[in-house]
Each structure stands twice: as C-alpha cells, then as structure tokens.
Amino acid sequence: MSYLGNIVSSVQTVFEGLTITFSHLFREPMTIQYPDRTPIPVKDTLPLRYRGFLDVQTDICTGCTLCQKACPIDCILIEAGKDPELGQRVMTRFAVDLSKCMYCGLCTEPCPTGAIRFTREFEAATYDVKTLVREYILNGEKIVPYKAPKK
C-alpha cells in the first residue's frame, strides 16, 4: 500500500511545488538594487537618529574642544589659538578622521550647541584612505567661535 501511496504523494507534492514556484514568477522580488536603482536614495530610508558620518556646523561651534577630549580614539582634531590680528581666539582647523571613527556618539553628547552631530550618510568606500579625513574648516579660514547671547 505504501508503494502506491509513495507514488501518489510524490506526484501531489511535485505538482504542489511547481505551482508554488510558478506563482513566484508573478510575485514582486525582494531585492533592493542598492547603489543606483533604488526608488529613493538609501540614505533617506534610514532612521532619523542613524549614526552615520559626523558633521560639524562651524558657525555655531564654540571651539570648546569638549568633543576632542571625549573622543576615545582621538579621531577629532581641533586647532585653536589666539589670533594676533583679530585679537581673539580663533579656530584654524577642525578635522574628523572617519576611517578611525567608531560612531560611538561620545563627542555629540558634551557638545553645548549641537554643532557636531551625526548625519545619515554612510557610504565611505574610497580608493584612498586619506580622503576620509574630513576637514570642516577649509582654505586657512579663521572661524571665530560662537558665543551664546547674554540674557
């Protein structure tokens, strides 16, 4: 009896399997064709608090260097000092080495103005690792640190 039963069950299961695979030809593929064929850029589909590259908004940076001190792997470099011409403290360099950054978020927590923060960008692939050092003060600019208005 199991002889005929085997035949019947194999015919039934193969038939059922074929209907399932054939129906898959009409189903939507799950694939997201990542870099270039997505309906909206993948960056915009990420959650708002995603820890991507660090970004620095230099016009509200107070130059306090708290982020530099908080960074456990020293990937933030801030050069600041007294400028003789302006007669006040200026920042001349603000660099973040993204190849070292581990996206821990310890630098964003002490920042008094929220000048250093995460973005949703994450595509760091490059031919030269040096390009991952992001400079936020370019062309020898001198940025006067931000001061909160007194009340």
Partner: protein, 410 residues
C-alpha cells in the same frame, strides 16, 4: 531533407551542374554547422541567462540584469571570462584521456542533433533507425563523463563520473522501454514516421492516446532528466558534496565544452519528448494559412514558409518543456543516491514493464474506436490538470497575499 534538396536543385541551375551526392552532402554539412553554431551555441547562451532569471524570480531575487539590456549579454560576459582562463592540465592527470574526454561528451550530444527533425523537410539525416540512434548517442556521453572523471585523478571527479555512469546506465532501462512502447504504438523507429503518426491537436498526440502512454510520458521525462544529469538528479555534479563533479579539474575552453553540452542536452530532452509524445512539428493548417497570408507562389518560398511555421511550432513545444525542466530544477531538492536508484529500479522499471505489456495488448486487441474514446477522455483529463495547475497558482498568490508583479523584466 532529400525533398528539400531536390527542390533546391530544381530551382538553382548551377547546382544541377554538380553531381547530386556532392550537393546532398554539402547541404547536410552546411545544415549541421548551421545548427551547431547558429542555433545550439545561441541556445546555450540564452538558456543560461533564462535559467538564472527564472531562478532569481523563484527565489524572490531579480537575477542578472546589468550586462546589456536586462542582462541579456550576461552569458557572453561569462563565456569570455571562462574562455580567457588558463587551460590547466593537472600534473597527475592522464594527459591524453583528460584532453579528449570533453570531445566525447560534445560529440555524443551533438551527434543527436543530426537526427532531430525541426520540420517536415528540415532534418539533416532522416533514417529508419532514428530513435535507436538517439539512444546510442546518449551512451557515448557516459564514456566521456567517466573518462573525464577518471583522467582527472581527483576523488571528486571520479565519484562524479561513477555516479553519472551508474545513473545513466540505470535510467537507460525505463527510457528504452518507454521508447519501445512508442515504437510498438507506431510500428516504426523512423523519427519522421513517429511524428507523422501523431497530429497537430492535443488529442492526436501520443501522450493523450491512452492512460499507459500518459504514464509513459512522465517516465520518459523523469528518465531523460536523470540521463541528462539535470536537477533533481544532478548527482554527478552535486556542488555541495563534490565541488563540481566530473568537470572539477577542467578550466578554460574544455570547461566551456562541458557547459555547452549540458545546455545542448537540456534542449535535446525537450526536443525528444516533443517528438515522441507531443506531436513534434505537426502544425495542422497553420503552414497553408501562412502561405495564403503571404500569397506566396514560388514553390521554393512556399516550402520555406511551411518549414518555418513547423519549425516555430516545434520550438515552442520544446522550449515550454525546457522551461518546465528549469522550473523543476529550482523546485525540487536533490535526491540521495539510494533514492535515485530506488526510484529507477523499484518504481520506473516495473511500471514501464507493465506499460509495455499493456501497450502490446492494446495494439493487438483494442479497436480504433476504443483508442478514439480514450484519447478524448485523456485529453479532457490533461486539460483539467492544466487548468487546475493555473488555478492552484492563482490560489498560491492569493493565499500568500504577495505583491503581484506581472512584468518579468523588473
């Protein structure tokens, strides 16, 4: 072929100046080369592409779609890549056997194309032992596979080759018995006569003539899959256990030859099943219909249109079967060796013996009216199964609540 060439000689005056055998052989060689390079090579490329796209959709992926429009040139890119690989012959391999083994597989596969009738007149060699010749060609492939497995001096290759030999020799039995059924039914081994004994409509086909031929169709299909080392019977190249089986040590051009033979065999399975069971190139009134549409007068053009119509009907049937084979590959898991042998010797062989006996009785005792009744009943049964299949597909889509996308190129 004979008629077609005679027709051509009558049309072209410069062919009349040559002796007839020169023209006949010339055309036969020309058509063999045409089939080999213009059809089989392109088919192998396209089948590789289609297989990967179908596999992609079945697994909820997309498949290759970057090289050329919708990835249609993917096989070409892969072919160039494999072609440029170094041709390695392992130090411990048997140098002569290792080098000639791919050609045995290749020749065995392509010799079969000589006897495949693509239309009423387009068959390179139409001779009265055609179907027997096809079986003999299959056997040549075993030698090539065992030879490549042995000569590679690699345990995986050897196991793959031995498995292939065991499998092909075992499945040759039910396949031959089923072919014998057809031979008894038609009373001939001539492939063209086998096709002519069928008709254009499904109720003229051998599959639906009676229940035994219906079962024989499935036995032949399963046996052909196993002989062609296709999933679910691809034990010889089981990737997860044997790296790649008998062609593990091959690279470059020799590997391409194995690859081509595999896809040529895929087509061959479809073509032989079409010839034996699904009416071959029989197109009914279609050829005359097309001739009247084009209003062709010249007998040469008329013959061309007729043959092309039959060619398209034949290819449509064969390619649907190729699609089913591809779909089966991505539906079923690979069977174990003992299951493979059990399926052959415990199920297919006894059933095909019973079938053979029943067909012999049927041919002798059942009158023609009985065959007509069973043909009607079986065709209705086949149609019900066909409709039920699509109903089940619809049900699967509804049950899974999946998003539908009808466009195959997306």
């Amino acid at each position: 072929m004979e008629n077609f060439i005679t027709n051509m000689i009558a049309q072209c005056s410069w062919l009349q100046s040559l002796p007839k055998w020169v023209v006949v052989f010339g055309f036969q060689i020309f058509f063999s080369v045409l089939i080999l390079f213009a059809f089989v090579a392109i088919f192998a490329m396209l089948a590789g592409y289609v297989e990967r796209r179908v596999a992609g959709r079945i697994q909820s992926r997309i498949g290759p779609n970057r090289v050329g429009p919708q990835g249609i040139l993917q096989s070409l890119a892969d072919g160039i890549k494999v072609f440029l690989k170094e041709d390695v012959v392992p130090t411990a391999a048997d140098p002569i056997l290792f080098r000639i083994a791919p050609y045995f597989v290749f020749v065995g596969m392509f010799l079969a194309f000589v006897a495949i009738p693509f239309s009423a007149q387009w068959v390179i060699s139409d001779f009265n032992l055609g179907i027997f010749y096809l079986l003999a060609c299959e056997a040549l492939v075993v030698i090539g596979i065992v030879m490549s497995g042995w000569a590679s001096n690699n345990k995986w290759s050897l196991i793959g080759g031995m498995r292939s030999a065991a499998q092909i020799v075992s499945y040759e039995v039910p396949v031959s018995l089923t072919i014998l059924m057809i031979v008894l039914w038609c009373g001939t081994m001539d492939i063209q006569q086998i096709i002519l004994s069928q008709g254009p409509m499904p109720w003229h086909w051998h599959v639906f003539q009676n229940p035994f031929l219906f079962i024989g169709f499935f036995i032949f299909f399963i046996g052909s899959l196993a002989e062609g080392n296709r999933m679910p019977f691809d034990m010889p190249e089981a990737e997860s256990e044997l790296v790649s089986g008998y062609n593990t040590e091959y690279s470059g051009f020799r590997f391409i030859i194995f690859f081509f033979a595999e896809f040529a065999n895929l087509y061959l399975i479809g073509a032989i099943v079409t010839i034996l069971f699904l009416g071959g190139w029989q197109a009914g009134v279609l050829p005359e219909f097309f001739v009247s549409i084009f209003g062709a007068e010249n007998p040469w053009i008329v013959a061309l249109i007729k043959n092309f119509t039959q060619l398209f009907v034949f290819q449509a049937k064969a390619l649907v079967l190729v699609f089913v084979i591809i779909q089966l590959r991505w539906t079923l898991p690979r069977v174990r060796v003992d299951q493979l042998m059990a399926l052959c010797w415990k199920y297919l062989v006894p059933i095909s013996f019973v079938n053979l006996l029943a067909i012999s009785f049927w041919v002798v005792f059942v009158p023609e009216i009985g065959t007509k009744i069973t043909a009607g009943v079986m065709t209705t049964f086949g149609a019900i199964i066909f409709i039920y299949f699509f109903y089940r597909v619809y049900w699967q889509l509804k049950f899974s609540k999946a998003k539908i996308r009808m466009n195959p190129f997306s």
